[in-house]
Each structure stands twice: as C-alpha cells, then as structure tokens.
Subunit: 233 residues, 2 copies
C-alpha cells in the first residue's frame, strides 16, 4: 500500500462540501470529479511558485498552506493561510497572469487540481456559479482593502494582535483555547510585516500581561477580549 502515500483516499478528495461549488448541479459536480487530479503534498513542498504559469486551480481538502509574495530582498510577505475547504490559485488563473504568489505546505496536505478549461466551462454555462465567483472576488477585494488600511495605520503591536485574532477565528483551537496551527516566529513576523525579534518581544509582553500563554509554538488564549481590544477591529 505504498501508493496511499502519494494518492489520497477517495473520501479525502470530496469536493461537494466546498461552499465554492454550492451552485453547481449534480452533473457539474460529476464533471468536476472526473476532471480533477488529486495529490498528497508533504510539509515543505511547493504547490506553485511565483512567476509560474498555472494550468488549473486547487481545492484544499486537507492540511494547511501559506500563500506568500516575495518582497524586497527576498523577504516573504504572507498574504494568507489556507485550510480545508479553501480554493487557491484561481485569481491568477482567471486573469491569465503568471502566479503572483507562492503556495507552500506547512501541514501535510491533500489538493485537487481542476483544469482551467473546466473552470471556464462551468463559469460560462452556469450563471449562478459565475455570479457566485464574482461575489467571492468582490469580498476578497474588500478584505484586501481593509487590510491595506490596517497595515498602513496600525502599530506592529496592534497588527500582531490582529493576526492572532485572525488565526483564532479561522483555525482550530483545542478545549484550552490553544491554537492548533503551528507557525514559526518568522512566519508570524512575515504575516504582520515586521522583524522576527519584534514578534518575539511583543508575544512575551502579551504573555507577561496575562493575555496569552506560550509553550514553544503553541499559543493559548487567556484573555481573548483584551487581544481583540488591542487589535482594534
């Protein structure tokens, strides 16, 4: 059963739960399943790289990835983390540009690729689906604009608090309010847009103030309300 290492089990490649596809007919979901190519990606592997030409978009059915851009002197700016149920790479695909971000696996993942022609076919033949696509894009655009305002006006302290809240709201926490996503200090810094040392200092400050607890990379929320207040959202 070596193959199972590289070919995910069918129950792990189910796309019908994706909100993204909620307006597709059964026949269209069928086409999707027929056209998809699914694969397991190990931690650290790169799904696509900035500047490459994409041939399809990806549906994440397991794991966590980071999507980032490479800025000045190679410093990476993390745009977002994605998890099960998320879709990646459709932006560059639809505008027919080269990928403007890199997608790297940080927790072993299963991804299904849908070829570009299939996406185009669905958009063209299902108005509900293309309308939904437009709405998703508009919402992401608003979020990006919000983030621009944030990052331009807030202090590093506020932005770090905001990132913690964002992780809290989008990723699993256990019964102790401990974030299950494991990020390096550097990754946190690249998300906030600051130096690694600053993140470290601020995190220990938050800890001393009794807002969070730290055990290596595990971050536990103690006083979430105060973090939200600092984040100013």
């Amino acid at each position: 059963m070596r193959a199972s290492l590289y070919n995910p089990r069918p129950e792990e490649t189910n796309l019908s739960d994706f909100k993204f596809f909620k307006h597709l007919t059964d026949a269209e979901i069928g086409k999707l399943n027929y056209d998809k190519t699914c694969q397991i990606y190990k931690k650290g592997s790169i799904v696509y790289r900035e500047g490459s030409r994409l041939t399809g978009f990806y549906c994440v059915t397991r794991g966590i990835l980071k999507i980032y851009k490479t800025g000045i002197d190679g410093k990476e700016q993390i745009i977002r983390f994605v998890k099960k149920g998320d879709i990646i790479a459709f932006r560059s695909l639809l505008s027919q540009e080269l990928a403007c971000t890199t997608a790297k696996v940080i927790d072993d993942a299963v991804l299904c690729q849908i070829p570009y022609p299939t996406l185009l076919f669905l958009l063209q033949n299902n108005w509900k689906f293309s309308h939904w696509m437009i709405q998703i894009l508009c919402r992401e655009l608003r979020e990006a604009n919000d983030y621009i305002t944030d990052i331009a006006q807030k202090s590093v302290r506020e932005r770090l608090a905001e990132v913690l809240i964002l992780l809290r709201d989008n990723f699993d926490v256990d019964e102790n309010d401990t974030l299950q996503i494991s990020l390096t200090r550097e990754e946190l810094a690249n998300m906030v847009g600051t130096a690694t040392e600053s993140v470290i200092r601020l995190l220990s400050e938050f800890k001393q103030d009794g807002l969070i607890d730290l055990k290596g990379r595990r971050i536990t929320f103690i006083d979430e309300a105060s973090i939200r207040k600092i984040a100013n959202v």
Copy 2:
C-alpha cells in the same frame, strides 16, 4: 442656461469609449444609455459614503475623485484616485455589501450612474462581459496584494516615491513633466499612510536632492529614474 450646471452636456456622458464596456453589443450600449443617470459633481462633494447602501455603480466621464476608507480615529486611508474612464462602486454593489469606502470629488466631475439591475442583466446575458468583469476583479485583487506587500515592507520614503510614480503613470503631466493633479500634502500622506509632516520633509529632501521641483501643490519630475529607483518597483 442654469441647467447646464447640473446636467452635463450629452457629449460628456458618452460611455462607449469605456474599456469596461468593450464587450457589449450596440443594443446593450443603447440600454446602458437609456438607463443611465448623469450628473455634475462639484469639487468637495461626496458621491457615496462609507456604510451607505448603493443602488448602482458610477462611470467617471470627467474630473478626479478620491476613494478612501476611514481608519482608526477618523484618519482617512486613500485607496486610489479615479479619473475619466474609470468605474467606481461596483465592488460593494456586486457583493451586495454596504459601501466600504467613501468617494469624494477633488476635481469637478461628471458621473453616470447605472442601476444595479442593469448591471446584473448585462452580466447574466453576456458571457464575454461577465468574463471581462471577472478578469478586472482578479487584476484589482492582484494590485491590492502587491500594495499590501509594499506597504508592509517598504519605508515611508520608498512608499512616497512609489506614490509619485503611480501618479506620474496614471495622471496627466504637462510638457515640463509637471503633475497636473493637485493634491494637498495631507492627501499624499493619506495615500502613503504616514503623517503630513513626514511627507513635507521627504518632498523637500527629494527637491534638495534634485529629483523633483515643487511649486505649491505642483510637483515636477526632474530625475524620474532616481525616483523609480527609490520606489523600488
């Protein structure tokens, strides 16, 4: 002829030049012209306000507007400037959210409003048009992501240089390389995401270094290449 103050002349409300509408048929352009409502907006007037519900989107056929968000303690963050040929407010309209920005006129403008149902009708019945819409949204999303990386990683000095280049590339300059768009120092600061005083100091620095010339609000490029180098784009 008082009316001409409030009702723009027909030749100023021509929409067929808009790249945005390039995939529409003549009949569809006709519908657009039939459904549109055009109006003159004086400098300082507000077209729509953050938080308001929109009933249509606007095509700019004359003038300049600034689109901004209100951040922490009322500080405005300018998202972009728009001019003739640009479209505004379609993002919030399509996602059926409340407006997340305010649009304010900074140079006397003429705008045509197209009702939401008309937009929806065109999207639904003309695949080329809705495909084009999707591509525009994707491109704007990339630009927003680029801007996030910039603003998170660059110094105020670099960002100011970048804004100057952006204005240079998107707005008219006369034969002396003088920007025709007239912005206050505060507006520049709100674009860069910094304090007014910082913009003033950096502009005089650029001037002392022989990169630009300043005459009140008129900014003249002397050494554009060096500005680009500082901007790091």
